[in-house]
């Protein structure tokens, strides 16, 4: 169900103009490419059609002194792709900062005995000191690997996540990895994800994907009995239990999930991936590279799916079922029918409380487009959306999700986003922790849509019920009534207003 509504293009064009007017000319010209208004909502499936007249220009360099929300390649590899692989130890290789800062920033849930056979929430760093910078860190890396083998013998493998200095001091982490892998008979994966590579975390995804291709696939004998309905779920990081909610549905329609990348994943799941029959991509942005590789090398087809909200769940399940033929199609229809009453109950409860509420999104990965319909399923309207680190293919994929007049912003700065929010004053903003406090101080309800704000899962039917409840809790909390937005204040001293 895509709601039939149109956003205020003129207002949005005006806001873009105002924002840009504050920059020096050169910067304004560069920033202009990132901001746009959608021309018309396209039909689903029309991938590739232009999103807007001027279109956004994405995946280009950040500007010094203009802080945006983006991370770096290390964040893309260690933080997103590799970090959740639970039975491996991931070394943040270099000085302590990167590892410490990024520790526990994502809620990748898992099961396992932490510190014994599972290591997701532990943090390992080679903690470079000045002498390591001066004399090189390869010797230290060897020691660190040896120590890990001794302290955590049940680890299934190690990855070496390079921080910036590694690429500058000429260390040969590949050689160390090869040597130590042989010595300990373990998989050791060197990842060249130094932060200065690329313009955001996005290149880190690519590098991490490549390291799977080069250092994991076909490197060990995989004993695995493949079946006809085997699928990999790729790019679901199990934030708040998403992957678990997804697996429930896929298994109900008769498929077997043989790998989940990389939420709650084991190294073995990654190794056996090439034996599956289909790759189901959740986060296209971070994992399309390896899927394209698997398609090319092993002939495994891939397809995207979307399990946010009942409209997309149903559409995606049917698409997936089609791939496997009548038996699965029948089961799928039964599953959809089974969940209908639940969906109706959720909508009946929350739609009256959420109908017509407007939402602005600014997130990473696939969410700026994928969650749109979930909101619309509840009667809400998306008035603006944007990606932290998208490429142009992301924006092409966004076209059919957004309605005419929707404001589109790429790699937006705090300043720009706040100006847009202030101008539009939506009923809800869904973005990240950095945006949370400024938006709330504007008197506008907020939910973190990276991490589900300590809630979740949001995938699947189970997740939809939680999603609906969370949005209701955020928007309808009574504190918003107490909050006099500062711009509504009279010039009188604040107390005079406050005291009524």
């Amino acid at each position: 169900m895509s709601l039939d509504y149109e956003n205020d293009s003129a207002l949005h064009e005006k806001l873009i103009g105002e924002v840009l007017s504050q920059y020096p000319d050169k910067s304004a010209k560069r920033r202009k490419k990132h901001l746009s208004v959608a021309t018309s909502g396209d039909q689903p499936g029309q991938e590739g059609k232009a999103l807007s007249e001027c279109d956004v220009k994405s995946n280009i360099k950040s500007i010094p002194g203009v802080m945006t929300i983006r991370g770096c390649a290390y964040a893309g590899s260690k933080g997103v792709v590799w970090g959740p692989v639970k039975d491996m130890v991931h070394i943040s290789h270099g000085p302590v900062g990167c590892g410490h800062y990024s520790w526990s920033q994502r809620r990748n849930y898992y099961v396992g005995l932490t510190g014994i056979d599972t290591f997701v929430t532990l943090q390992f760093t080679s903690d470079f000191q000045e002498k390591d910078i001066v004399f090189g860190g390869d010797k230290k890396l060897e020691k660190v690997i040896d120590e890990i083998e001794e302290l955590f013998p049940l680890n299934k493998g190690i990855s070496v996540q390079s921080e910036c200095p590694i690429g500058l001091i000429g260390d040969d982490i590949e050689a160390v990895s090869r040597k130590k892998a042989k010595e300990h008979e373990k998989t050791i994966v060197p990842v060249r994800c130094e932060g200065f590579r690329g313009v955001s975390q996005s290149l880190g995804h690519h590098i991490a994907n490549d390291s799977i291709r080069d250092w994991v696939f076909d490197k060990t004998e995989v004993e695995f009995e493949a079946g006809p309905y085997d699928v990999n779920v790729v790019g679901d990081y199990n934030i708040g239990g998403d992957a678990w909610a997804t697996r429930i549905l896929l298994e109900e329609v008769g498929l077997r999930v043989v790998g989940n990348w990389s939420g709650d994943a084991t190294l073995a799941e990654v190794e056996r991936a090439p034996k599956a029959k289909l790759n189901l991509i959740h986060c296209y942005r971070s994992m399309n590279y390896i899927c394209r590789h698997m398609e090319e090398k092993y002939g495994i087809p891939w397809m995207e799916y979307n399990f946010f909200g009942p409209s997309q769940i149903e559409a995606s399940l049917r698409e997936i079922a089609k791939h496997f033929g009548p038996e699965i199609v029948d089961k799928t229809e039964a599953v959809i029918a089974k969940y209908r009453p639940l969906v109706d109950a959720v909508i009946a409860k929350y739609q009256p409380r959420l109908e017509g509420k407007t939402v602005m999104l600014y997130v990473g990965g696939l969410r700026p487009r994928h969650v749109i319909t979930a909101y619309e399923d509840l009667g809400m309207r998306i008035v603006g959306t944007g990606y932290e680190f998208a490429h142009n293919d992301d924006y092409q994929r966004t076209g059919h999700y957004v309605n005419k007049g929707t404001l589109i912003y790429d790699d937006v700065t705090g300043y720009e986003l706040e100006k847009f929010i202030e101008g539009i004053r939506p009923d809800l903003v869904g973005s990240g922790i950095k945006e949370k406090y400024p938006v709330q101080k504007m008197g506008i309800p907020f939910r973190q849509m990276h991490s589900w704000d300590y809630s979740g899962p949001y995938h699947g039917y189970d997740g939809f019920a939680i999603f609906a409840r969370d949005m209701d809790l955020a928007i309808n909390n009574p504190v918003w009534d107490l909050y006099d937005a500062p711009w509504k204040k009279k010039v009188a001293p604040p107390m005079a207003v406050a005291a009524e």
Partner: protein
């Protein structure tokens, strides 16, 4: 004397320390109208920013020079210049505090010269904005060092040098990073109750105290020490430095301006607060006001009510050196003992005074290994999983604290803060009390380790 044990392994498993540039950024955030600028990749800045936001739950105006691959190879001066000019144009800050990161320090450029060049070439455009450089590579020190370096750099760069006419009621206070926003507020109020005026550098109580600014879009810090206050530090009668890591900035200030300093290695506990109050009395010539005396009396009472819960308790602390000293002396002063002490760097002189048999330079893995049998863990939020594995309650202290609200509004110093700490800890102990059972009674049991049923941990020691 306390033995300082060097790191036992090459890896850090669950690091205790975060890194130097973050400490420097924090210090710059305590200046009004300031923007800390990480000279490095956008990624480092983004990570540090998120961590600061999660800790303070506030808008943090941290900026980046956005070093990319090309700049990394060819040198970062252009990026530094562009960043500074962009910030100046868009937000006109009073201060830009440049914090170098491992990325640019590894290249080993001469940032001081770069900055001088930029300032010279762009003198007109940059008028009205101080630009201060703190060399803070991640591969050296931790928050303590970064904070102290930034404060030192600000004094060196901004404070007017030379002996100046002294204002009899003015004192300068240089607090360590480990004081909370509430501590700073309380410090100021205490000083003012003696009829004195306090210039506090840095002053996080203005900018990160959880207020909602009236004026919406504030691209710099708001509140905090003014640049003018920093310029005029030399007119203070007396400087008070709090924590050993603030000795260096205090010495630099004295060297520049002749303002004498008194160093308080901790402001937690009755004795140290007595000494502080006494100093204020003697500088101001006023006796302590009734309010202060009443607080002292309340603290005395808290010592009496609280000591009972502390006696014989075993405490395991992991913290940066000065905070380790502050907390360890607090606990031993109440009759507890320090069963494990872990810190970030081994160079601070304060470590020798930590009331523990030994201090281990290391990580939270070390803490977890040493803490078995303790009654309380004390460290930042990342200690929560060790606490859970060990079955020992955790008191959160230090940085980051991201899983509790209001940590910046908790007092930890002076009479009242010590009182509050006593209550907090005593209540943790009361909440985790266990009654004996018929089975647990056994005269030959070793009572020094109250609970043998705890799971083994993965760290060896």
């Amino acid at each position: 004397m306390t033995r300082i044990l060097p790191q036992t392994k090459s890896a850090a498993v669950n690091p205790l320390k975060s890194s130097q540039p973050l400490g420097a950024a924090l210090a710059f955030l305590g200046v009004s109208g300031a923007i800390p600028l990480f000279h490095g990749n956008q990624g480092c800045t983004s990570f540090a920013l998120v961590l600061l936001v999660r800790h303070f739950k506030e808008v943090i105006p941290l900026q980046t020079t956005a070093m990319d691959e090309v700049a990394t190879i060819l040198g970062g001066m252009d990026h530094l210049e562009e960043a500074i000019l962009n910030l100046k144009t868009r937000t006109n800050p009073k201060l830009i505090g440049v914090c170098t990161t491992a990325l640019v320090e590894t290249r080993g450029e001469d940032f001081a010269r770069d900055l001088s060049n930029i300032k010279m070439l762009r003198a007109r455009e940059l008028a009205g904005t101080e630009i201060v450089l703190a060399n803070t590579p991640d591969f050296d020190g931790a928050i303590e060092e970064g904070w102290a370096r930034a404060v030192t750099a600000m004094i060196q760069r901004i404070t007017l040098p030379g002996e100046q006419a002294r204002q009899s009621k003015k004192i300068a206070i240089l607090p360590g990073w480990n004081l909370t926003v509430a501590d700073i507020e309380h410090l100021r109020e205490t000083v003012e109750s003696f009829g004195l005026k306090a210039v506090i550098l840095p002053d996080l109580s203005g900018s990160l105290d959880g207020t909602v600014p009236d004026d919406r879009w504030v691209p710099t810090s708001y509140g905090g020490t003014t640049v003018k206050d920093i310029q005029e530090l030399g007119t203070a009668m007396q400087c008070i430095a709090i924590c050993e890591h603030m000795r260096r900035p205090a010495e630099v200030l004295q060297g520049l301006t002749g303002v004498p300093y008194a160093l308080f290695q901790s402001l937690t506990g009755l004795k140290d607060t007595d000494r502080f109050v006494s100093l204020l009395s003697s500088v101001s010539g006023a006796t302590a006001p009734a309010r202060i005396r009443r607080r002292r009396s309340q603290l005395q009472d808290a010592l009496l009510d609280g000591h009972f819960h502390f006696g014989g308790k075993k405490i395991a602390i992991a913290a940066e050196p000065d905070q380790l000293y502050q907390l360890a002396t607090f606990f031993t002063g109440m009759g507890a003992e320090i069963a494990a002490a872990v810190t970030t760097t081994g160079t601070s002189k304060i470590l020798e005074k930590v009331p523990a048999e030994q201090v281990q330079v290391g990580d939270l893995g070390d803490l977890e290994g040493l803490a078995a049998g303790a009654d309380l863990l004390v460290t930042h939020s990342h200690g929560r999983q060790a606490a859970e594995r060990l079955g020992i309650p955790l008191m959160r202290a230090g940085f980051p604290i991201f899983d509790r609200l209001g940590s910046q509004h908790r007092l930890t110093t002076l009479y009242r803060g010590t009182r509050d700490l006593i209550f907090d800890v005593a209540n943790i102990f009361q909440a985790s009390q266990h009654a004996p059972t018929p089975q647990s009674l056994d005269p030959f049991r070793n009572r020094e380790v109250p609970d043998d049923s705890r799971p083994p941990t993965f760290s060896r020691h």
